[in-house]
Amino acid sequence: MGFAPLIWLLPLAIAVPILLLGVQRLLAPKAQEADKGDPYECGAPPIGSAHQRLPIKFYLVAVLFLLFDIEVVFLFPWSVVFGRLGWIGLTQMLVFLGLLELALVYVWRKGALEWD
């Protein structure tokens, strides 16, 4: 079977993290300080709890961003073979984009793009 080499990836995938973690445990200098337990905030002293409630609008924006970002991801491979796909390729991509524009209209009219 041509897939046997894949099996060899498994011990490798297990060994590499163990090795990396083990080496740093052996070699790294050890110093226990209270500050080390703090969450990392770009060097600034952390203020308040990390478990804060954030407005759900951020989530909505992130999801919408992902949606239309993926749309662009699909455009890249298409643009590479665009010339060879001809009219059918163009039509299919226009149908795809058209459906996504419907989604945009929906999001817009539903007020998901309004911050307040």
Partner: protein, 525 residues
């Protein structure tokens, strides 16, 4: 190199029903943004009716060139058509029920119909898929809207729980299915079912097949992958529950049957023993768990697990004998089950208080037949049918399943199935006993307290707990609800007609639908 598109005009005929349902969904989605207070069920039902007409018009027309043009990704055989019609029917009945249900909740909003139509499109793709990738596409297109539909009563915590559980477990099952697709592709070098059927049987192919089987079994709710069924069915809005219990089951069993017969049932793959045990365990687990249920939606959920077991019995018969009679019996049973189950869930919806509360049948259903004699009679019929007693669809469904299994030499499994049927009659009769033979009880205080708790998350429409205590909320059936009554009537007629309808074939009384199911299965090979 250039890409050849062997497009053929027939492709449009093949795709038309799916494009119609999808187009209706998009139309409602867009129109709802600009027009308010429209009865969106009409465009939805119109779309479903048009799609049904387009499907039925193809019964005698094989679309070989279209299949060729799509590289076999979609099949246009009668198997597809039979299941697509059944799915469209189930969707239409669920939408009608949802219209009545909407009087109490938000299910009259356009999005509800959009999601049902999109899920229906996914099911139609799933049952017609002749390629594992298309199958996965259909599976996802049916799953995503269903996840959302489960949580449609977004202010009720049960509904949210239902959606979350279904989503997490469902996406896990989908990923197992996809892993199976990858392994099968690695073993067979193709994702087309026909090519997989001709591929050399290797351990890798068997492993991939097993993962695919797990994916399907999750969707049909067969043990040991049934854990989500009771919680999800209980929490989802009742019209969604009936949609999931029937249409999703139709689609998943249809695709499963096609995959087994076309690709995976071969002497070299030991699926027969696996299916034997799955059928056995599913029947026993479903029926024994249903025995102790006090909530009627959970009872029907476990009964649907048990019914998945009976249908697996039919597939085991196919695996054991190599004859496709078992698959025809499964199709017939699926159709019968659709009507019995939609009918039962619609009555549950109509007789429940405030749609969700008051589903504990010993307590809330006692003596209900006196006040609602027609609905009580209909419910009794559906319970008898689900239990498999004549003269109903359930009897002939079980008869043909057990018959083909005996013909295939599975006598011990059939004995187990018959014993299970006897067990199931007990809990179906419990509902009838509660409705007819117990004295009617006024809702007592503890009932109302629990009802108040269940709706603590209900938004503007929620009544304060004290208000509920002073006036018990009306049952849906006390408010007109004509659409759901029509659904009950259709289901009663269909359940009786499938049991006593115009006969044809060897068994007297067996309806002509059986002939169609046999035609459908015959077109697979």
């Amino acid at each position: 190199m250039s890409y050849q598109f062997a497009w053929h005009p027939q492709v449009w005929t093949l795709l038309a029903p799916m494009m119609v349902t999808c187009g209706a969904a998009l139309f409602i989605l867009m129109a709802e943004l600009f027009v308010k207070n429209v009865a969106w069920k009409w465009p939805a039902l119109f779309g479903l009716a048009a799609a049904t007409a387009l499907v039925l018009a193809r019964w005698n027309t094989p679309l070989a060139q279209a299949e060729e043009a799509l590289w076999g990704a979609l099949r246009a055989d009668r198997f597809t058509l039979f299941l697509q019609v059944a799915i469209l029917l189930a969707a239409a009945l669920s939408i009608l029920s949802a219209h009545s249900y909407g009087a109490l909740s938000s299910t009259r909003r356009g999005e509800f119909y959009v999601l049902v139509l999109l899920a229906t499109t996914g099911m139609m793709v799933l049952v017609s898929a002749g390629d594992l990738i298309t199958m996965f596409l259909g599976l996802e297109l049916l799953s995503f809207p269903t996840y959302v539909l489960c949580g449609f009563l977004r202010r009720q915590i049960k509904s949210n729980e239902s959606a979350l559980k279904y989503f997490v477990l469902g996406s896990f099952a989908s990923s197992i299915f996809l892993y199976g697709v990858a392994l099968v592709w690695g073993a067979a070098g193709s994702t087309r079912l026909v090519d997989i059927g001709a591929a050399a049987p290797t351990p890798l192919l068997l492993l991939g097949t097993l993962l695919l089987v797990i994916g399907f079994l999750f969707k049909v709710g067969a043990a040991p992958f049934h854990m989500w069924v009771p919680d999800v069915y209980e929490g989802a809005p009742t019209p969604v529950t009936m949609f999931m219990a029937t249409a999703v089951k139709l689609a998943a069993f249809g695709a499963f049957t096609r995959a087994l017969i076309v690709a995976f049932l071969r002497d070299s793959l030991p699926l027969e023993g696996i299916l034997w045990w799955l059928a056995c365990v599913t029947m026993i687990v479903g029926n024994l768990s249903a025995l102790t249920q006090v909530n009627i939606k959970r009872l029907l959920a476990f009964s649907s697990v048990a019914h998945a077991g009976y249908m697996l019995l039919g597939l085991t018969a196919v695996a054991a004998s190599g004859s496709t009679d078992g698959a025809a019996a499964v199709l017939y049973y699926l159709l019968a089950y659709t009507f019995m189950n939609i009918g039962a869930f619609t009555v549950v919806m109509l007789l429940g208080r405030r749609a969700e509360g008051g589903l504990l049948f010993e307590r809330d259903w006692s003596g209900i037949a006196r006040k609602h004699p027609i609905l009580g009679l209909a419910m009794a019929l559906f319970m008898i049918a689900l239990g498999g007693l004549p003269p109903t669809a359930g009897f002939f469904g079980k008869y043909s399943l057990f018959r083909t299994a005996i013909d295939a030499g599975l006598v011990s499994l059939v004995v187990i199935a018959v014993l299970n049927t006897l067990v199931s009659v007990y809990y179906y009769l419990r509902v009838i006993v509660a409705m007819y033979m117990r004295p009617e009880r006024e809702p007592s205080v503890p009932v109302l307290e629990s009802a108040g708790r269940a709706h603590a998350f209900d938004g503007p429409g929620a009544m304060a707990a004290e208000e509920i205590a002073s006036a018990p909320p009306p049952r849906l059936s006390e408010r007109g609800a004509w659409a759901a009554r029509v659904v009950v009537l259709i289901c009663v007629i269909a359940t009786l007609w499938l049991g006593m309808g115009p006969s044809r074939g060897a068994v007297p009384g067996m309806s002509r639908i059986m002939q169609w199911a046999e035609d459908a299965v015959a077109s697979l090979r």
